[in-house]
């Protein structure tokens, strides 16, 4: 509203709906209320263990004061391409639960982000919570970003979640924000790393595929970073995200 992006006739404060706040572990999934703050996510040790990539992305957003006030629901529904959470939402395979006049609807994260500030949410729907699959101990993840030196927003941020069994990647999900007009899933990287034993070569080869499905002409391009530079950053930060996730998987990375 301050930036003139929105001029609503009416503003409804949903900030005091307690049932939309908090983190609950239910069997296979962790449910996070849309009004849960970044600080509450960052402070949750179980979430760091179960959904490392999401917790790490939340810890990277803004600053102390912003993390105290900003919420996961507000962030995802806003679909700011330069924000840190959308890529991690895709990588952690979370489900967005929305309520509307016709009841509840569940949306996969990689189908939620449509364009800059646009999501699959309808005008009469409200994002109430998200559900994150719980890791089984073999899940590891990482979020790394190149922040804008002035704003701290991500020029490029890459979120990686890996399932590793005895040094071999059995499943991978990679998401990126800052590159395109909305967060995107990097399936070519997933395809390249799945089934591979974790090694520097395998990680480098997978990271080289980061921009394969993305048109450079459509990439974000502004005073801070050209599309060409973003494409370069995407490969570099994909490599770093995979390396950090691999280290956390306690895998033996051999040259």
């Amino acid at each position: 509203m301050k930036n003139g992006l929105a001029k609503p006739d009416v503003v409804v404060d949903i900030g005091h709906i307690e049932s939309m706040r908090g983190i609950e572990k239910n069997g296979d999934a962790t449910s996070i209320g849309a009004l849960t703050t970044y600080a509450e996510i960052d402070d949750d040790e179980e979430l760091w263990a179960d959904a490392t990539v999401l917790a790490e992305a939340a810890s990277e957003i803004g600053d102390t004061q912003v993390r105290n006030r900003g919420t996961i629901g507000g962030n995802l529904a806003h679909s700011d391409p330069a924000s840190d959470l959308p890529g991690a939402a895709i990588a952690s395979d979370l489900t967005l639960v929305v309520e509307g006049p016709d009841g509840e609807r569940r949306i996969d994260a990689d189908e939620f982000f449509v364009a800059m500030y646009m999501t699959d949410l309808a005008e009469d729907e409200l994002l109430t919570r998200i559900e994150v699959p719980r890791g089984d101990g073999a899940t590891s993840g990482a979020y790394v970003k190149k922040p804008s030196p002035s704003s701290g927003y991500a020029l490029v941020g890459v979120a990686a979640q890996l399932q590793v069994d005895d040094g071999t990647v059995t499943a991978a999900r990679i998401g990126a924000n800052g590159v395109m007009d909305h967060a995107v899933r990097l399936e070519p990287v997933e395809d390249a790393i799945e089934g591979e034993r974790l090694s520097d070569d395998a990680i480098s080869a997978a990271a080289e595929r980061a921009a394969d499905d993305l048109e450079e002409a459509m990439m974000m391009d502004d005073l801070q970073a050209s599309a060409e530079f973003r494409s370069h950053l995407l490969e570099t930060y994909t490599k770093r995200a995979l390396e950090r996730a691999a280290e956390r998987a306690d895998a033996t990375v051999t040259a």
Binding site: K2, V11, D13, G15, A39, G62, D63, T64, Q65, V66, N68, R69, S151, G152
Partner: protein, 164 residues
């Protein structure tokens, strides 16, 4: 434009006031209640000069509508000193010359007090990270970090003496 009757508890004192829908918390605090500690700097969530605590957590009061803060506990820099005694963070800024023009200081102190409440012995990196959302245009960051370290030492010494 609608008006709203709200209650704010500021530094332990309850205030009833009427605010406009669009009125920011920082303006309600400064213009209506005369708590001029929180400063208006950028008004865009960047500089941190307006930082107060809302229910114990640091927040930029230029990015909270006053009506959103209804029935919440606000602490401004005016609420740090007790019974005429400076808070250790205020002592720290005085001892270490942690301010030049002083504009950012109230916000720095409010963010730093949340850090010290959560982490009584922060190292330099932790202090700098915690204060990432507070800008000092005099660029006096080194002395600000020293001030926070000084406050942590005072609070540790006080705890060892069994003070509050």
């Amino acid at each position: 434009m609608a008006a709203h009757d709200i209650t704010l508890t500021v530094n332990g004192t309850e205030h009833e006031l009427t605010v406009q829908s669009r009125e920011l918390l920082v303006h309600a605090l400064r213009d209506q209640l005369e708590y001029t500690g929180p400063n208006v700097g950028c008004e865009s969530t960047t500089c941190g000069a307006c930082t107060v605590h809302i229910d114990g957590k640091a927040a930029k009061s230029c990015t909270v509508l006053a009506v959103q803060a209804d029935e919440q506990e606000i602490t401004t820099v005016e609420g740090l000193a007790e019974d005429g005694e400076f808070h250790p963070i205020q002592e720290g800024f005085q001892e270490e010359h942690g301010l030049q023009c002083g504009y950012c200081t109230p916000g720095m102190m409010m963010t730093a007090t949340q850090l010290l409440a959560e982490n009584p012995d922060p190292d330099e990196d932790e202090i700098r990270e915690a204060l990432e959302g507070n800008l000092c245009r005099c660029t006096g960051y080194q002395n600000i970090v020293n001030a926070v370290e000084n406050a942590a030492e005072q609070m540790d010494a006080a705890a060892a003496r069994g003070d509050d």
